[in-house]
Amino acid sequence: MKFDLKIFDNPRNVKIFLGVFYASLVVLLIADFLVHKHHDIPLEGAPQFYAVYGFVSCVMLIFIAKVIRFFIKRDEDYYDK
């Protein structure tokens, strides 16, 4: 099978994709106020808990990973030396 798709080569399509993505975030923030909350732990009941936690988790993950990289990174042929 041969394919040659170019959909994301057009910057306009990338913009549309990001636009839909950002819009879905807004929808999720609004939806948080509308659903009936029931929780396994009390913290879950806090407004927009998951949005904040998800965002902060991932930013922390990246910055901690960068710090770790400083200590553990070696050349690709490190184990062959």
Partner: protein, 604 residues
């Protein structure tokens, strides 16, 4: 229906292991059909065999049990057979019979472990997995894979010996071969020997479960396996270890904390890793962490969650390994730095990869959502706040590396310029089946819940839960998006990142060097001091006593004998030569020795 009556009467494990023997004798379409027939037979046998103990064989005073079928083993058995079928479709074009035989013995070993009712047959199958799986790494036939396979088997031999030692003590102390709950009791309750036995068994199983710090082998070896071998590897070893943990050590608190560490630590490595299959290996460890945590919590919901998550995980993880394997197969490359933009020419593989990514990330409507939620809720019900928070962190982290990074760096991101053909049809079919099951389970989850060990009263699709999970994932994605766009995302680099396998890769080499320097150094010094100088000098001293004595006497007498023309050195030489040739009567040497002793005696 005829399908409800087909039952081979052969233990599923033996259908695979004995069935593998015939593979080398078949060719072409017959071989392909046979390879796909074995899992079908095993599946039908399993479906049509009711719960209970089957396939019992006497051995000495004991009884081997190859068919302990209950809720727990049945669920694992189903998924092992299903993934064997999918993996075989994926591998059907592989010409190398060794790989097919190895895959079947390996899968058969996993089934044998699952349905074993006694520790003896459990151990035999456990070891056959280790040996057979090594061939799936060796078969890659690169220098790296040979080395990795060697390290892999050494680690598993170590684990196997620990397990065997533990089992032997356990069987001797309890007098039973039964493979059932063991638990990590206090040493004070069971006595030191029994405590040691239990921990030895635990460590043996923990190595296969890739529990840190015993996890290095997994990320070391799996990425070096063959394209198709990695699919099988990702399915059996760790998951059969989860089964054994659920059988022997459910409710063990230590497992909760080890499991939590497993969910969190590997995601940092996965973010930094360049090799896509190594990223998947790290996310595999992370997912097994969830399962072991479920086993450790031990409530009915948690055990159900662990089993359900194993079931879903095998499907989406093999799907991810298949899509990464397809890219490796088509391009010969697997590093993030070499790949990118492949959606243009491999769009179907890209879609399958994203289905696997959505499933592992636990997006609603995908399989991971209906299984992982059970474990996380179980942690919440037990008021394990820290565990719960780390779970949520790890969930966001999984989405970050396995959910976004893997598809993004292979199929999107920067254009690598590579335009490979789409994957071969058999690979697409295999990925298609796995993708279908990932989505099907995500929607019609009741079917999965029905085969879990305990009755399920859990509803994953509540409004709050769906919105909460979507928020967690989408805002995690937002973080990825903003970091990439702002250039703060850690750049992909050609590098290796140190992990625990360092201890036996470099540490082992260092140990070798230290023992080399110390041991051989002492040897050399000993050799130089004693063998090369002291002994020869004592030797030559003793040897020369007669000639020295003789010379001592002869040299002053020389003038008297009238030998005047000869200089002193030449004379000494001549005298020595006649001594060496034995031209001096032995009696003189003896007399000299006696004289020497007399002198010594007088002086003392």
């Amino acid at each position: 229906m005829v399908l409800t009556t087909i039952n081979t009467g052969i233990p599923p494990a033996l259908i695979f292991i004995l069935g593998a023997v015939l593979i080398p004798f078949l060719k072409g379409k017959a071989k392909a059909a046979y390879l796909l027939l074995l899992p079908v037979l095993a599946f039908l046998t399993l479906v049509n065999t009711p719960n209970g103990n089957h396939f019992l064989y006497p051995l000495l005073d004991y009884q081997l049990n190859l068919g302990r079928i209950d809720g727990l083993s049945r669920a694992f058995g189903y998924i092992f057979v299903i993934v064997t079928f999918i993996g075989m479709i994926y591998a059907i074009r592989v010409k190398d019979n060794v790989q097919h035989v190895a895959a079947y013995v390996y899968a058969g070993g996993a089934l044998g472990v699952t349905f074993a009712g006694d520790l003896f047959s459990f151990y035999i199958f456990w070891e056959s997995m280790a040996i057979a799986s090594t061939f799936l790494i060796l078969a890659r036939k690169t220098k790296e894979s040979q080395k990795a396979a060697f390290r892999y088997i050494l680690v598993h031999i170590f684990g196997g010996l620990s397990l065997l030692g533990g089992i032997v003590i356990y069987v001797v102390r309890t007098g039973t071969l039964e493979f059932s709950f063991i638990g990590l009791a206090d040493f004070s309750d069971v006595g030191a020997t029994m405590g040691v036995a239990k921990y030895m068994i635990f460590i043996g199983v923990a190595i296969n479960a890739a529990i840190p710090p015993l996890h290095g082998w997994l990320k070391d070896a799996y990425p070096e396996a063959t394209v198709t071998g990695a699919v099988f590897l990702s399915s059996f070893t760790t998951k059969s270890a989860v089964y054994v943990m659920a059988r022997m050590f459910p409710g063990t608190e230590l497992l909760i904390w080890l499991g939590v560490a497993m969910t969190a630590i590997p995601i940092f490595y996965a973010v930094l890793e360049n090799d896509i299959r190594r990223v998947l290996a790290y996310s595999l460890i992370n997912q097994v962490g969830f399962m072991l945590c479920g086993v450790g919590i031990g409530s009915e919901l948690a055990i159900n969650g662990a089993v359900a998550h194993t079931f879903c995980h095998i499907l989406y993880k093999s799907l991810l390994f298949m899509s990464a394997g397809a890219v490796l197969h088509q391009t010969g490359k697997i590093r993030c730095t070499d790949l990118g933009g492949l959606y243009r020419s491999m769009p179907i593989t890209a879609v399958f990869c994203m289905i696997g990514a959505a499933s592992i990330s636990a997006f609603p409507l995908f399989s991971g959502f209906v299984s992982k939620s059970m474990i996380i809720s179980a942690a919440g019900y037990e008021n394990l706040l820290i565990v719960w928070l780390i779970f949520q962190f790890a969930s966001a982290g999984v989405f970050h590396h396995a959910g976004i990074k893997v598809p993004y760096f292979m199929f999107f991101g920067h254009d690598s310029g590579l335009r490979p053909k789409e994957a071969p049809l058999n690979m697409l079919i295999a990925m298609g089946i796995a993708s279908f099951l990932c989505i099907y389970i995500g929607i019609d989850f009741g079917k999965l819940y029905a085969i879990l060990p305990y009755p399920v009263e859990y509803e994953p699709y509540t409004g709050a839960h769906v919105i909460g999970q979507l928020q967690l994932l989408m805002f995690g994605a937002l973080a990825f998006c903003l970091l990439i766009l702002s250039g703060n995302y850690p750049a992909e680099m050609r590098s290796v990142n140190l992990d625990f396998d360092w201890f036996y890769r470099k540490g082992g080499a260092a140990f070798y060097r230290i023992t080399d320097v110390l041991g051989n150094g002492i040897n050399k010094a000993f050799d130089a001091v004693f063998l090369k100088s002291l002994v020869p000098s004592i030797n030559s001293f003793a040897e020369n006593i007669p000639s020295r004595l003789l010379l001592l006497i002869l040299v002053p007498l020389r003038g008297l004998g009238g030998i005047k023309n000869e200089d002193a050195m030449a004379f000494k030489k001549r005298a020595q030569l006649s001594l060496e040739k034995g031209a001096i009567p032995i009696g003189i040497t003896a007399a000299a020795a006696a004289l020497f002793m007399v002198v010594l005696y007088l002086l003392s």
